[in-house]
C-alpha cells in the first residue's frame, strides 16, 4: 500500500452519524499522529464510543471521510479495520466467556501447525510470553468467565496488543482497574508510543489524561468542541470544555457525622471460596469504603452480604434484623441492595425500556393488588431521569441505546427508587463522566445524610478518600485494616492491601 510518511496516521473528517431520534455525531474531526497518545473525552453520550465504533468498522458513518496513512479507507466490517492495523479495546468487555484467556488473546488468528491444526502449546506459550512482556500476571489457561471483571479487562487490553497494529484505540480501558494495573497499562502505552503507534485513549478520569495524553479532543453532544495539546489545558478548562460549565466540588460534603445506630452488621462472615471471617459495621449516615487489589474479594463480599451468594458461616444483620433466610428477596425486604460491577450481565435488561429497567426493584411499591399503576411509575422514573440528567430520547427507549454512563445512572436509580437502608455499590462510577460522577457523589452524600448506610467498593482511591467516612482494606478475602478517613493515606491503603 502506498502511504505518505508525512501524512497523519489517521484523519477522520466531518464524521456524522445518526441513530433514530439521536444525532450521535455531527461533523467530528479526529487526526492522529504516530507515536502520540490522543485523548478523546466528553460526557456520557457525547459520542466517543460511536466515533470509535465507526473507526472499528462496527458502525457505518453517515457522512465524512476517513484516511489512513493518507489513503482513503473503507471500513465496512471489523475485519476491514483489523486488516488496516486498527486494534480496539471496546468499552464493553468482549471476551468469549467459555474460552481460555490464551485462546481469547489469539482469537483473531489462532496459531496453527503444518497440517492446519491449532497449535495449542504455542498458543499457551505465546500468551504466557505476551503476559510476561506486559507484566500481567494472569493464568493463560483460566476460563474468561471465571475471571473477575478487572482481569477480563486486562486480557482485553492484552488482546489488542497481541498482533501488530498501527493504531490502538482504548475505550475506557481503566474503568475497573486498580492503580497498580493502571500504572502497568501506562508503561505499555508508553512502549506503544515509542514504537510509533498512534493511540486513542478514552477515559473519564482526567488525571489519567494529564498523565498519558499528548493531545486532547473534546466532544460534547456529538459535536467537536476542541482539540489542543494537553499542556494547554487545566483540569478546570477541560471540564469546562466537556460539560460547558464548571464543577465546584467533585466530592461535595453536605452531610453531618454518622449516627450511632448500626444499619449493617457483618460478623465472622466466611464463604466457600474466598471470604474468611469478615466483620464490620456500618452506621446510619455513614459511607463505608472498601479498598483492595484485584481479586481481593470485594465483589464477593458485596454479593454475599446482599444475599446473592451463599455463605458458609457468619451473621449478617440489616437494621438489627438477621438476613435469614440468606437470599436477595429477604435482603431487599430488609433494605439492602447491590449495584453490581458487571452492568451488562448482572444489571441491564438490554431490550427493555429505560422505565422498566429503572423501576424493577421498586415495582412492588407502585402496585395496588398486584396491578402496576403505570402513571405513578412513570412520573417517579421521570423524576430520577431529570434529577440524574439521564440522557435518553425517551423513557420507552430500550436501554441498549443509551451510553454506558447513562445506563449506570439508570441502574443506580433502580435502588434509589426502591429506597433502601443499606446500599452496596460495587465500582459505582465505572464509565461515568465527571459531571455525572459529581452528581452521583452528591447523591451518595445525600443518601448518607438522609440516614442511609452506604457500602462502597471502588478501586478509585480519590473517590474512596473523598467520600468515605471509614475505609476497610481487603486482601485475600480478609479485612486487613480499618481506618477512619482522616487516618487514611494512599500509601497506607496500598501497604495494607498488599499485606
Amino acid at each position: 500500500m502506498l502511504s505518505d510518511p508525512h501524512s497523519p496516521a489517521l484523519a477522520m473528517q466531518g464524521i456524522g452519524k445518526q441513530f433514530p431520534g439521536v444525532v450521535a455525531l455531527a461533523d467530528v474531526d479526529l487526526t492522529l499522529t504516530g507515536g502520540q497518545v490522543h485523548a478523546l473525552i466528553g460526557e456520557n453520550g457525547a459520542g466517543k464510543s460511536t466515533l470509535i465504533k465507526i473507526l472499528a468498522g462496527v458502525y457505518q458513518k453517515d457522512s465524512g471521510s476517513i484516511r489512513i496513512g493518507g489513503v482513503e479507507a473503507e471500513l465496512r466490517t471489523p475485519r476491514d479495520a483489523l486488516r488496516l492495523g486498527i486494534k480496539v479495546v471496546f468499552q464493553e468487555i468482549a471476551l468469549i466467556p467459555e474460552f481460555t484467556v490464551a485462546e481469547n488473546i489469539f482469537l483473531e488468528r489462532h496459531p496453527v501447525n503444518r497440517i492446519g491444526s491449532i497449535a495449542w502449546g504455542k498458543l499457551r506459550a505465546d500468551a504466557k510470553a505476551l503476559f510476561d512482556r506486559l507484566g500481567f500476571a494472569v493464568d493463560p489457561g483460566a476460563r474468561a468467565r471465571d475471571l473477575p471483571i478487572s482481569t477480563q479487562q486486562m486480557v482485553e487490553i492484552a488482546r489488542a496488543l497481541a498482533h501488530e497494529a498501527r493504531i490502538v484505540v482504548m475505550d475506557e480501558p481503566t474503568s475497573s482497574l486498580t492503580p497498580k494495573e493502571v500504572a502497568l497499562l501506562f508503561t505499555v502505552i508508553r512502549r506503544l508510543k515509542s514504537l510509533g503507534i498512534a493511540v486513542v485513549y478514552v477515559s473519564h478520569k482526567l488525571d489519567e489524561i494529564f498523565e498519558i495524553a499528548d493531545t486532547v479532543t473534546v466532544l460534547r453532544d456529538g459535536r467537536h468542541i476542541s482539540t489542543k495539546p494537553v499542556a494547554a489545558h487545566t483540569q478546570d478548562s477541560l471540564i469546562q470544555d466537556m460539560i460547558g460549565r464548571r464543577i465546584e466540588f467533585l466530592f461535595p460534603r453536605a452531610r453531618g457525622p454518622a449516627r450511632s445506630d448500626v444499619l449493617l452488621s457483618v460478623r465472622g462472615l466466611s464463604t466457600k471460596d474466598k471470604l474468611r471471617d469478615v466483620s464490620f459495621e456500618v452506621r446510619a449516615g455513614e459511607v463505608f469504603g472498601f479498598f483492595g487489589l484485584l481479586g481481593a474479594g470485594r465483589t464477593e463480599l458485596a454479593k454475599a452480604i446482599v444475599g446473592f451468594d451463599p455463605i458458609r458461616s457468619g451473621e449478617i444483620a440489616i437494621g438489627g434484623q438477621p438476613l435469614r433466610p440468606h437470599d436477595t428477596r429477604t435482603g431487599v425486604a430488609l433494605g439492602i441492595g447491590l449495584l453490581t460491577e458487571d452492568r451488562k450481565t448482572e444489571g441491564l435488561m438490554l431490550e427493555q425500556s429505560v422505565q422498566h429497567n429503572m423501576s424493577l426493584a421498586a415495582l412492588g411499591g407502585f402496585a395496588v393488588a398486584g396491578f402496576v399503576q403505570e402513571a405513578r411509575e412513570r412520573s417517579a422514573v421521570q423524576g430520577f431521569v431529570d434529577r440524574l440528567r439521564v440522557r435518553t430520547p425517551g423513557l420507552d427507549r430500550p436501554i441498549r441505546d443509551l451510553s454506558g454512563g447513562n445506563q449506570q445512572k439508570v441502574l443506580l436509580s433502580r435502588w434509589l427508587l426502591r429506597g433502601l437502608k443499606v446500599i452496596v455499590v460495587d465500582e459505582p462510577t465505572r464509565g461515568i463522566d465527571v459531571g455525572a460522577k459529581s452528581e452521583i457523589f452528591a447523591l451518595i452524600d445525600r443518601l448518607a445524610g438522609e440516614g442511609h448506610a452506604v457500602v462502597m467498593m471502588t478501586s478509585e482511591m480519590p473517590e474512596l478518600l473523598g467520600l468515605s467516612d471509614r475505609i476497610a482494606v481487603m486482601a485475600n478475602g480478609r479485612i486487613t485494616a480499618t481506618m477512619p478517613r482522616a487516618d487514611a493515606t494512599q500509601e497506607g491503603l496500598l501497604s495494607a492491601a498488599i499485606a
Partner: protein, 321 residues
Amino acid sequence: MPQSRNLLRVLTRRSEGPLLLCLLAVIGFFALASDTFLSVRNITNVLGQASLAMMAGIGVAIVFISGEVDVSCGSLLAAVAIPLIVVMNATNSLALGIAAALALGGVVGVVNGFLAAYLRINSLIVTLGTLFVLRGGVYLYTGQTAIPDDAGLESFFQLGNGRLAGVLPYPAVAALVLLLVFAYVMGHRPFGRHVFAAGGNPDVARLAGYDVPRIKFAGFVVSALLATCAGIMLASRLGSAVHVAGLGFEFQVVAAVVLGGVSLSGGVGSLFGMALGVLILSFLANGLGMLDLATEWQLVVTGAIIIAAVSFDEFKRRQKL
C-alpha cells in the same frame, strides 16, 4: 506433571464425566437384569441403531454450538431418500444415488443457512418451516406411498445392513469416523473454534474479524449433510424411500444433544457429550425392550431417567464450582 494436570482439567471441565457414569450405570443395570443384553451381537446392534441419531446429532450439536437451532433433520431423513432411490432406480448406480441425496441435503442446508444466517430469520422458525415443508413435499411427491428400491444393488443393501468384519455395522463405523473427524475439527481446527466463538459471543466474534454469518451458514450446511448421511443409511436399512421415515426424529436428536450437555444458548458443548447422550438413550431403549417392558412403561421409565440423568449432571457440575 503439567500433561496429566491438563488432562485432569479437560476431564473435569467438560460435562462428560457424569454422563459417562450414567451410561455405565445404564449398561451395568441391564447387564445384570437381562441375560441377552451383554452380548457382542446386541451391543453392536445398539451401536448401529444409535448411529443415525449420532450422525445427525453431530450436525445439530454444531449448529447449537454456533448459537442457532436446527430441527429439520426429521423430515430431511425422509426427503433425501427420494432422490437416492429414484436416481438409483434410474441409473443402477449407488454413487449417483448418493450424490443426488447429498445434493438435496446440501440444498436444504444452504437454504436453512441462507435464511437463518444471512437473512437473520430466527433459526428455530426457519428449520421448523423446513421441517414442515419437506415433510409436506415428500407426501406430495410420493402421493403418500413409499418408493421401493427396484435396482436391488448389493452394495446399497450392505451399506446399512452389512457389518465390518462381520461385527460392527457399517452405519456405526461411519458414525464413529464422522464423530472423530468432527471432534477433531471442533477442538483443533480454527473453523471449530470459530463456531464456538460465534455461539459463545457473536459480537466478540464479529469484532475479532470473523464472518459470523458465514460460520453459522457452514454449520447449517454441515448439519444438513450429516442428516443426509443418516438418511442414506436409513434408506438402506429400509430398502426404500419411506415417506413416514424420521417422524419425530428431530425430537430424539435434540433430546440426546441437550442431554449430552450442549447448551441451547450457544458456545458450549462437546461432540463426545452428544455421543454419550445418544448412547444413553439408545441403550436405554434397547435394554428396556430386552426386559420385555410394555411401551407405556418404556416411555415412563425413559422420561424419568432423562430427568434423573440431567439433574445428576447439573448437580455434579454445581458441586465442582
